[in-house]
Symmetry: C2
Subunit: 188 residues, 2 copies
DNA sequence: ACAGGATTAGGTCGGTCGTCCTAGGGGTGT
DNA sequence: ACACCCCTAGGACGACCGACCTAATCCTGT
């Protein structure tokens, strides 16, 4: 893997696990196993690598959503796949929260210029969810999409504070039930 | 106001607006208008002032919950008061998120020892909500309390990223409706 | 073999971080 | 008046931060 991509991958992981502010150039360089000078050759400022990480996450998100769509036969199945993030990434979420949500929260506090870019990843989910909700006949697909996102964020936040597995199970089941309900009687 | 209390108040505000990691001793000292040396007389380490801030927030939370309780005539009214945080603190939440949730998220990322203490503030809400849900005859008051907390956290997270007033209004209305539903048919 | 751009290593800069220390101010009790 | 102690100011420390620079190395095309 080229050095640049390696740096982005390491920064991505460290930003997720430690947060953006708490991660230094030295941290990333040490993790990758290169010198700080080499690091600076690829990224001139810390903002620059943040932009690269956000772009990488956005691209991965797009690919993930496309994959879910390709592997699902119905709109409802797509929505269920979304909820199953918590099944697949449960351990990580319990330790470090949602990668998108925690980054946006941090950038919002720092008044960082990249907040809209990070928020755009949320928007990818939002539009994707809205599209499938609309396919189900949901009358207000965008509002419902935001609702699902909010529910997910709430679960992630409390999961990382309380580490309560049963709570996560209950909330996942509720979200699945909500999607089933929308699929069967979308006008409600 | 004594210096110590002034420092705690300033740190509380700065931790909320900028985050814990992004706030330095100098920041706080400058805000209060005292020297760093004086600051160090009152708090020897950064962790120490964090503990003080968390204790202060916990105390304020207890007082707030007691006040809500005193001003409400029914358990349902108490629960509605909880949801109305978003009405009262909407502007702040849209800019900096939930004070408790964002702090817990940050401390979780930093693997900070004070995470349980910060989480205890969540627990104050949790038990308070559960108590009133139980009074309503809710079969699983603690689970429902966690659910309400999660919903609130989700709203706060998305509010600070999207700044969408209509979204907040919809979610608040939904929570009020949910509480009314629990109050009228608690067995469901 | 050689030139030249791409890449890497490592040192350095000014600034800020958390921490610590000492000297003095200001009030109180004797 | 004097001793005492709470409080304050401000400087200094070692470490680390992001940022920058230069020299050496690698690789590729000719």
């Amino acid at each position: 893997m080229p050095t640049r991509a390696t740096i982005i991958a390491a920064a991505d992981d460290l930003f997720y696990r430690q947060g953006y502010a708490a991660t230094s150039f030295a941290d990333i360089a040490t993790t990758v196993g290169i010198s700080r000078g080499n690091f600076y050759y690829h990224f001139k400022t810390k903002d620059e690598i943040l932009d690269a990480v956000i772009a990488e996450r956005a691209a991965r998100t797009k690919a993930l959503l496309a994959q879910w769509e390709a592997e699902s036969t119905t709109p409802a199945a797509c929505l269920h796949r979304f909820v199953d993030i918590f099944v697949v990434n449960r351990a990580k979420i319990m330790r470090h929260g949602c990668p998108v949500g925690t980054l946006c929260a941090e950038l919002a506090k720092l008044d960082h210029a990249a907040l809209p870019d990070a928020g755009a990843i949320f928007t990818l989910f939002r539009h994707w969810l809205a599209r499938h909700l609309e396919a189900l006949g949901c009358p207000e697909p965008d509002a419902q999409a935001l609702h699902l996102l909010a529910r997910s964020q709430g679960i992630a936040t409390l999961a990382s504070t309380f580490h309560d597995e049963a709570f996560i199970d209950r909330e996942i089941a509720q979200l699945h039930a909500l999607i089933d309900h929308i699929a069967t009687s979308p006008e409600a």
